[in-house]
Amino acid sequence: MWLPFVGLVIGLLLGFWTEFRIPEIYSNYLSIAVLAALDTLFGGIRAHLQNTFEEKVFVTGFFSNILLAAGLAFLGVHLGVDLYLAAIFAFGVRLFNNIAVIRRILLSKWTAKQDRQTEN
């Protein structure tokens, strides 16, 4: 379980320390990519908790979601339509949904555990 967290820390450090720069006009895409990544992550956690986790789905979903969101924003900028709002909306709703499901699962697991303890 420790390896993913090490990976997260390494990624954060890389992001902070490297002098990697993207032009300012692409910052919108970046924020949408962040949203997509978070959405996929929480989706993966939820799936894991529900025991329906599949690696391939998760990995492909992660990358395709990021690319799709960025591409949608790109298209929106060039068409003059704020299409990135759609991506934000969709991801935001799913994010909240996923978090709510995770919370509920965790809560039910916790209560079940407490019940078992009291029975014992």
Binding site: W2, L8, V9, I10, G15, S31, F62
Partner: protein, 233 residues
């Protein structure tokens, strides 16, 4: 714990997520910094601008002061230059005056007058009338001085403006130094002029000759005189 395949994939995904999050976080921070100018920043800017203005006015004052000081230095330098010129002139004058008073050695063209006692004194005559007296020397010297001789010496003894010539029997004393005949009077000046002035009809030479003094006058290309030293010898 065994490293499973899905853990590797998960950590890879998390690396990318962390990277993107950090990047966007940085980006958001930068955007905020560059766009939003808070009241505090305005105040700070105002303060800094005031400080800059203050420094500038200070600099202006200082540069004005500097200019004033430079002008002062200029005037002082001019003054010094003028004084130096004056000093130079004074030194030149001093040199000339020293030459005149005889405190330095001088050389130049001039004339040499030799006065000797008469060789022949007839019997029964007072030999006093046949020797050179201080008066004769004084006559010559006066004549030479009148003819603008620049420096005069008797037997190598320089004459200054306060020299005295004293007759002591057959010898004379010049500034306390004894001299014997023949007396060689050297004078620096225009040789022709000095020569002519001594040879005026009825002049010094004729008078000396009539006083039974042997006079020999010759022009010299170069006469070197030692400085006047009263304590000499």
């Amino acid at each position: 714990m065994k490293v499973k395949g899905n853990h590797v994939i998960l950590s890879f995904v998390l690396i990318i997520t962390g990277f993107i999050v950090a990047l966007s976080y940085q980006f958001a921070n930068e955007g905020q910094n560059s766009q939003v100018i808070t009241e505090r920043q305005w105040n700070k800017e105002d303060e800094l601008r005031n400080q800059v203005l203050f420094e500038q006015s200070l600099n202006r004052n200082l540069s004005e002061e500097l200019r004033a000081i430079q002008a002062e230095i200029n005037t002082i330098e001019e003054e010094i230059a003028y004084q130096e010129r004056a000093y130079f002139n004074l030194v030149e004058d001093l040199d000339k005056l020293r030459m005149v008073t005889g405190s330095v050695g001088v050389k130049g063209p001039g004339i040499e007058v030799t006065l000797s006692d008469a060789d022949y004194v007839p019997d029964g005559e007072n030999p006093n009338f046949y020797i050179v007296h201080e008066g004769h020397i004084q006559k010559v010297i006066h004549e030479l001085l009148v003819t603008q001789a620049e420096a005069i010496a008797i037997n190598g003894q320089r004459i200054s403006h306060q020299s005295y010539i004293q007759c002591v029997g057959p010898v004379i004393r010049i500034d306390g130094n004894t001299s014997f005949a023949p007396f060689v009077i050297t004078a620096i000046g225009d040789p022709d002029k000095l020569h002519d002035s001594l040879h005026l009809p009825g002049g010094v030479r004729d008078q000396l000759l009539s006083d039974q003094v042997e006079v020999k006058i010759e022009k010299k290309e170069l006469i070197i005189m030692d400085p006047f030293l009263s304590e000499r010898g």
